[in-house]
Subunit: 141 residues, 2 copies
């Protein structure tokens, strides 16, 4: 079972922002700190902003910050938003996929139940409980 690298990076960024809730961080700083591609991180920020988890500020001192209190953001909610276009198996695709078993399938419901259990488990924890203060690489700013 895989989550996309975008979801992975998105969770890391949110944990980082939750660790310093009053700070605006530049994607350049975070990309360097995490040793990941700045370009990828910028796309992640766009997705997180579209989903209402972060907001961006332009100009000098600009960057990204949490749009909601970390204690109110549940992990399941984040994963649900970032993975919404990822179909677990073919028949979960928006277009229904091309699996020829679909009309007779008794597995689909079991997979949907299991996915719900996965997300419900993540919904028990908030971002605040996973906050990361940047211990590894203190901010230069």
């Amino acid at each position: 079972m895989r989550l996309t690298a975008f979801t992975d990076f998105g969770l890391r960024l949110l944990m980082r922002l939750a660790g310093r809730p009053d700070t605006v961080l530049s994607t350049e700083t975070v990309a360097r700190e995490f040793a990941i591609s700045r370009h990828h991180l910028q796309k992640v920020v766009q997705n997180l902003a579209a989903a209402g988890f972060v907001r961006t500020r332009r100009g000098a001192g600009g960057g990204v910050e949490l749009a909601r209190p970390a204690g109110e953001i549940r992990l399941g909610e984040v994963v649900r938003a970032l993975e919404q276009e990822q179909a677990m198996v073919e028949c979960f695709r928006a277009d229904g996929g091309e699996c020829r078993l679909t009309p007779f399938c008794r597995l689909r419901g079991e997979l949907a139940r299991a996915e719900a259990a996965f997300l419900a488990s993540l919904d028990r924890t908030t971002l605040a409980e996973c906050a990361y203060g940047g211990e590894l690489a203190p901010l230069a700013r």
Copy 2:
């Protein structure tokens, strides 16, 4: 959240075999019936055989059959076996990955718990309960 196409095909094949437990099916027949690549299906059969779910018979009338009763094979067991090399996020990789947050991360445990909930949900159902008898395309053999 995604499972690999190999896991998807593996589950379909097992459901198909569970629907006719006394029948040996050729991969050619199943690939045609499911409208999927025979080459991919053969790789799936190799993985399922290595994991002890199916066995293969060579020669005329050969093919693939369940190695264990469908009622004793739990869905979670199948997904666990077929997805064992799929890391949910970077730090789940066998080599530990390169995420710089790993030593301080409080998310990893939450993701592991959620994955366990996903698999536990699937473990409540056996292959026999998802058997598919081939209604869509009756066997030509």
